[in-house]
Point group: D2
């Protein structure tokens, strides 16, 4: 076994940061070697700076790491995952990229910039070709690559197999888990035995990010998918796993068998290259009439697959179906790590 | 105060029946005088035959009633509410109607028959004009009037003010409370911290019932609203209150202010006649960006109003909004009682 | 109808304050005339200063009140309810009492002071006789009267009928609702489908407050009940209503029938005087083997009764039973209002 | 790797049976070779006879097994786990034991019989010495060994390290997960945002089983621990994991450090023999003031450890603490499998 590549996590003490720390615990290629957080935490051990909110206990290897300031230098390795809050991510991520670091970010700040890949390895691995332009125009030796919003990942994974049929219009209603709101996040007084029909900025993110992710590379820019996407986002009292009801209109006629087969046979670059975090089947179509369900399905396949079910004809468009995925794994930490694996397999981390 | 009209409840021991018993407790016009159930319960006192599942305790006046067999005669009053399970409602309701009873039913069995009003008093009071045809063609001295499925009531109440703008297409995704499934209903192992993306038969009911309810009376038949309706129905861990995300396409241009005003100013026959169970405002538009919410809003206004919020432009259709209502009150027992009040005000119970 | 007595609420914008505002909405004796909060809110209308967290919407009469600074003067009426956070309550309550106000406080700050009544009107109305000493020793023209911690109220109400039998030892394990933690209070990530076996300071409060409440007035001081009380406090995912499992050792032999009768026949001063917020039966003994339950029982009787059930022999002590009550009504706002009603009936507000 | 021992599961299609099937999936010693259920299921494949209720999907190896009738013969292997419902377990288990099978049962039916070990390998491995008497007196070539009720396991594991100090009296209040009630089990209408303060028969089981488990072998019988145990059992809306608040009186003085060390250093036979399902540390003492918690802790260590926390002095007895364990693993399927591993290591399966 060859030595693992040292990696760092910016924003490591927050909920998303903790997801990175947990997801990286037994990673075969990457080794968590550096954790950064706010100045308030810098200088403490990770276990002292962090109130662990995930199930179980903090990975022992992380517990003893010294928390660093979120500035380049400080021994930060070249490959850095960013779990920073949007309020601070813009400047810090740029500073690291400018200083030669590869920033694989879960933050929303740079997602929609025209020279930044908004990467889902199963869908748009080619978007990594934006990087030379990004480096050239910004004068960076490093780079920034982003993954989408958690609910966008689930939606676009469900839509990707339908792209050959010409996605025209999409109406998506989400039922999102509380872990997506961080910590303390949603007050229990708001969500216990309740639904909150609003998640700030989420609908806009889903609507625009989906168009970019499903878009095509044209030279050194992305042509957005010219589909109309309407999202309604709701918070439900579920711990992990976003569930989405999707209705979709297609340009080309497809039988229900063709669509189901498209879900079932969907494989892509991460599967071909056997990237360590890639699920064998990125989409799992479930035949049971009452699946997928977040509590029962989101954690399967290490939280990296997206579960599809209830494909049926839509009286308004062509088809409707349900999609479910783990929001803090496939929708955040796991998404970024898979991005980094793809980049490594492309030689972009050399 | 004049004497109240005696009424009966068929299927009185089940969850919906209990909702009727509770809703009628202090009714100014109707007095619960008769309860019917399966043969197994007949002959017992209501309090002995019934495991009370609603909050609080059984109304004292009902507790001492003798449970009767569900056959005409037995002292059954003319006005009968039906809370029977669909598996038995068809024959029993017909037997009572044939015997001269006015059956105001929450069961789904007769809803879609062409001579049976599927009544929401705020929307289609005129559909009561089907009754003479029903009586003539069936040779009944009594009659059957129905109310819609619980989620359909909430959806159609939200759509009714938009009918003047020409409803073309509707995509609706529900998040429905567990009380809608009766008792024992949904197993806690299925729904605790979970969402179940399936409710048997519900999507079909919403799609077809909505077209009938919003249709127009033409002579002695209903012309269904020629709108396409697509429903995705989900069960969420909420006790009472169905929440629906609605996207709607309109034939005629309407500004967002016009639509909001249409919700706000919506009044109809029950309000004009000040029917006892009619909410002063049948629709309550909420300005807060995160409302309506089932736990906080469904029980307001005695559970009889429908709460609307988050009206915004839809990238796919014209507008999207949220609608929320109490599923066992406005969506079941209260709906039927309001129907009976409308019928009484029309002189149909004389 | 004679004019109502104007009252104020200190800390009116918080969760407990909102409970006061709601509970006072239709009060026959008291009229909410003044609301105080932090300087940040002062000068705004109550509806602008307050994010309403309770079910339904803010009472209209309160919505338009101007929020005042929490200092005497400012038009504050003589009778003031305190819903202030413990971090600020000590000084402000004293300032008001010193300035001649009657402070009926839900805050914990003064509860255990030897000259301050810790009042539960059904249990220790006589403790109001501490007031002359309080006024004399502190040189106040006003006064401070307190109500217990929310779980202590439920426990002591359940124990009160057993006092004649000589309460020796009590082991109490609570399952407490999230509303007891205020807003934002408990993070949903902590409590969703979980139990948190810790509530800071709660066990100590229950153990000592119970001894004071159940103690006897001896001259102008309270002799604490010499019972040993052990509490284990847990937070459960319930919205409203604290449930407590109680095991109790008695000095004198009592049959199970005697104990059950003691619960059932318990009446006290508030019932005799028919205080407006007093439940007809302060304790309701439920025969069903699986009651009381917080979601089904806490809101009954306007949230002011305590529900008892499952009385059975305890293999370790004499008896064990369950007690349940509404934590923000009988355990907070309603408790304080009932205290004020008792004081009014004693002529202490003249 | 040597061939695995074939094992069967009686009652394999129910919830507990499914737990066995899942727990055995990758077992190093035992291989699931036989599944039995009611006659209604016999003859079908396991995947056809079983609605899988646990997270994820049915283990592939089990899916294809043919379901057999629950009678000896039918190719049933010698070692049989019983997950049968109490209503049928008595006769069937006896028939198998009589026919030479080793029945390792989770059912309650034989637990309290004087010649049947009620086994918790960390506590009373010596109780297996009842087997020769059982076989002799009953004329069996096979045998029956049982594991305790799910909440009893958690309680007794927490008490075991205190046995040297002389356990005198125990008051235990449980907060139990819904999975303990099987499927459909608890209705969501009963438990959503609620607590049910009653679980039929559970308190009695905890009180008597604990005395037997913690008892000493005297010749060929068990002398029950002469401690008084009082249990109050409650159902809470948690998926997996029972949490228990325990107050305990000891005969001998022990400092809090001694007690904490007793929890921390507790090791026993399964650890010494490194049984495959034995947790490295059977008890995990957590220092965090708000742990253990069922959702965050029950699944750790494969669900086989018991988590202890909040050790503190009890005003009534000596100490109080919290104990938490996974009810369907350590409290059921895993408990039985660990029992079988112990028996194998003793040569009892030869």
């Amino acid at each position: 076994m060859q030595p693992r590549i040292p990696v760092g996590v910016l924003g490591a003490t927050g909920m998303v940061g903790q997801s990175f720390v947990k997801f990286l615990e037994h990673h075969p290629w990457f080794e968590l070697a550096w954790v950064g957080a706010s100045d308030r935490s810098a200088g403490k051990k990770y276990q002292e700076a962090t109130a662990w909110r995930l199930g179980g206990v903090m990975p022992a290897a992380a517990a003893g790491l010294m928390v660093r300031e979120s500035t380049p230098g400080n021994g930060a390795p070249r490959l850095m995952f960013s779990a920073m809050d949007a309020s601070v991510a813009t400047e810090i991520e740029r500073a690291f990229a400018s200083a030669g670091h590869v920033i694989v970010s879960n933050s929303r700040n740079h997602r929609m910039e025209s020279d930044v890949p908004l990467l889902v390895p199963e869908i748009n691995a080619s978007h990594l070709k934006l990087i030379p332009r990004q480096q050239r125009e910004r004068g960076w030796t490093g780079q920034i690559v982003t993954n989408p919003n958690c609910s966008t990942v689930v939606l676009t994974m469900g839509l990707a197999p339908l792209k050959p049929y010409g996605i025209q219009r999409v109406v998506a209603t989400t039922m999102q888990a509380i872990s997506g709101a961080g910590y303390p996040g949603v007050a229990s007084m708001d969500i216990n035995a309740n639904v909150i029909p609003y998640i700030g900025g989420e609908e806009e993110k889903m609507q625009t990010e989906a168009q970019k992710i499903l878009g095509d590379l044209a030279g050194d820019r992305i042509e957005f998918l010219p589909a109309k996407v309407s999202a309604s986002c709701n918070r439900v009292p579920v711990v992990d796993g976003h569930l989405i009801a999707v209705s979709v209109e297609l340009a080309r006629k497809a039988s229900i068998e063709e669509v189901r087969d498209a879900f079932r046979s969907f494989r892509s670059v991460p599967q071909e290259r056997e990237l360590p975090s890639a699920p064998v089947r990125p989409l799992v179509y479930m035949n049971e009439q009452d699946r997928p369900q977040p509590r029962r399905d989101a954690e399967r396949d290490n939280g990296m697959a997206v579960y599809i079910g209830r494909l049926r004809e839509c009286p308004v468009f062509d088809y409707k179906f349900m999609a479910c995925g783990h929001n803090t794994i496939r929708g955040a930490a796991g998404a970024a790590v898979l991005n980094a694996e793809l980049m490594y397999s492309e030689g972009l981390l050399d």
